[in-house]
Symmetry: C2
Subunit: 340 residues, 2 copies
């Protein structure tokens, strides 16, 4: 593979090069780590925005509206859509995924669906690496849209600089049912389908809960009356009191306000210094993930671990040794340093 040529074409935002680089990364094919390592110094230009929420919250529609709004500002946009697909039907498991038809043919837009089959390094790691490719390709905004069905999808959402949690009035019995940890990942909350019954109540509940969490009732009262929280306030710069917005994505209502709120959140992140800290923490996590992936490859491809297990397998099957005994033996050998 001609890596320098690929990188040059990628930086020129040539679509075949983007597709090829993503495939390389998604399938962890030889050279993918060299590619990513080479791209690393130039990353950080794109603003990464995560959009997550339960099935049926209208995330795809909202994402499409965001793409159009950014395009209207002359910005280029990449979308990474992560939906679990059913092994039984081949289709999206939960989604009414609209293929973003109104923006799909725009050369300033790149849309990529990610398979959720367990990749070597895990879905969240691979998604982050795909976002790196898109960042390197010069897109101004990288939107990661994911249906929040489980821990791994929430981890995906957490890859962003700003994470938008999209809820709808019918999401469930208010926010009491949100699992612990879900509220914490939202930097911005959107109540979509805001013309439906219960939307105001959901919005109010969110504002109360967020205000209580921030320990600042006064701030809550202001937010509840519809004025955005002062972006210069230290609490907001920490992302501690996220804004709650109302949208009707299907009509485009509230999208301009969401774009403005995303800009405010970004500026607060930058000004408060939180962006650098946040990105650093994510690079720490990324490095840990790459270590784990590399360690797995080392253990199974370069050490005698596989062979040791094979030799002990009869004893394991007969009950003379347990899998835990043999794993301890293998690990002891690893600890002593396996010379290859």
């Amino acid at each position: 593979m001609d890596l320098p040529a690929l990188v040059a074409d990628l930086r020129a935002r040539k679509v075949p090069a983007i597709a090829r680089a993503i495939s390389l990364v998604e399938n962890a094919r030889p050279g993918f780590e060299e590619l990513l390592s080479g791209l690393h110094p130039t990353l950080g230009r794109a603003r990464r925005i995560g959009i997550t929420g339960p099935p049926g919250a209208g995330k795809s529609t909202l994402t499409e509206q965001l793409v159009r709004a950014y395009r209207a500002q002359g910005l280029t946009v990449a979308v990474v859509a992560v939906d679990p697909t059913s092994p039984f039907t081949g289709g999206a498991l939960l989604g009414d995924r609209i293929r973003m038809e109104s923006v799909a043919l725009d050369p300033g837009v790149y849309i990529r669906s990610m398979a959720t089959r367990g990749s070597l390094g895990g879905l969240a790691t691979t998604t982050r690496e795909v976002c790196d490719v898109l960042d390197a390709a010069g897109f101004d905004r990288v939107l990661v849209e994911t249906v929040g069905v489980g821990q791994s999808e929430l981890d995906v959402a957490r890859t962003a600089d700003t994470t938008v949690l999209v809820l709808v009035p019918e999401s469930g019995d208010g926010i009491q049912t949100l699992k612990s940890g879900v509220m914490e990942i939202g930097d911005l909350f959107v109540v979509n389908k805001a013309d439906r019954p219960g939307a105001d109540r959901l919005r109010h509940e969110l504002e109360v809960t967020l205000a209580i969490r921030a320990g600042n009732a006064f701030r809550h009262v202001r937010a509840h009356h519809g004025r955005p929280v002062d972006a210069q306030a230290p609490l907001e710069a920490d992302g501690k009191t996220p804004e709650v917005l109302a949208t009707i994505a299907a009509k485009g209502d509230g999208v301009a306000e969401l774009v403005a709120a995303l800009d405010r959140h970004w500026e607060a992140l930058v000004r408060g210094g939180a962006l650098a800290g946040r990105r650093k923490e994510r690079l720490r996590q990324r490095t840990r993930e790459v270590v784990e992936r590399a360690a797995r490859q080392w253990i199974w491809q370069e050490t005698g671990a596989e062979q040791v297990i094979g030799e002990r397998l009869d004893d394991i099957a007969d009950g003379r040794l347990s899998p835990y005994d043999v794993a301890a033996e293998v690990l002891e050998a690893l600890k002593q340093g396996v010379r290859t």
Copy 2:
């Protein structure tokens, strides 16, 4: 923790001991590997049956019917139900899970739901370990019911001695849409809701596909005419030509036939020697998983890897080093043997 007492109570099938042992395993709390290692020599008595299929296929109802049928034979049954739950609603994401009310109070039945939050060793590994606990507790049958939404759930289904794939006429546009690898995990196929339109066609499609896969058209023709394939034939002993059954689980129709087919599959596995090979392969896989889990613990808790990443983090953030550079450095240190 008094491990011998726990093991003794577990073997006596005392419910608090079962629950405690499963919690220990599910949360990977101190002592869980000693417990599992101690149980290992006595495992293998229970027949493990996996039941999987798309959302809405009626797996829970079918499982409940199987439990009742086995209880009627005087056998004890444990059920491990693995369903993804939504982080947004707290409820089952896809399921109309019936809580198996008709059997839940029977002391010969133990039902356990598994959380699908990523556990330390992964869902599939933990589920296998929970099945070990139930096997050690002396249950005659361990049913693992899981909705097949992704790779990890299919991995769960693969933990069993016999895996039943449950489909319904409305599962999708025939079996063309089944992802590669899905057909392969089924030892028995059930077309549930067999009174609905399209059931005969789905059954026929399954039989043709399975026969083609087995490269045996003659065998297919026989199966298609409703007679079960001869259990003594070598192909079936290999699990190469799975039976296709029709059920209406809600009415109990076809359940006795399913129980008989499960017995036939078991006997063919035992007689053909495939059971030992299959269980050995699973023990190999298990040992690999335990090695990976132990390696992760070693890397992050016993070596200086975390500290190295911390020291390099500024360089990573500034672009002087990439996560891949630092991961390579950490791995090199691991390979040299880290003395602690």
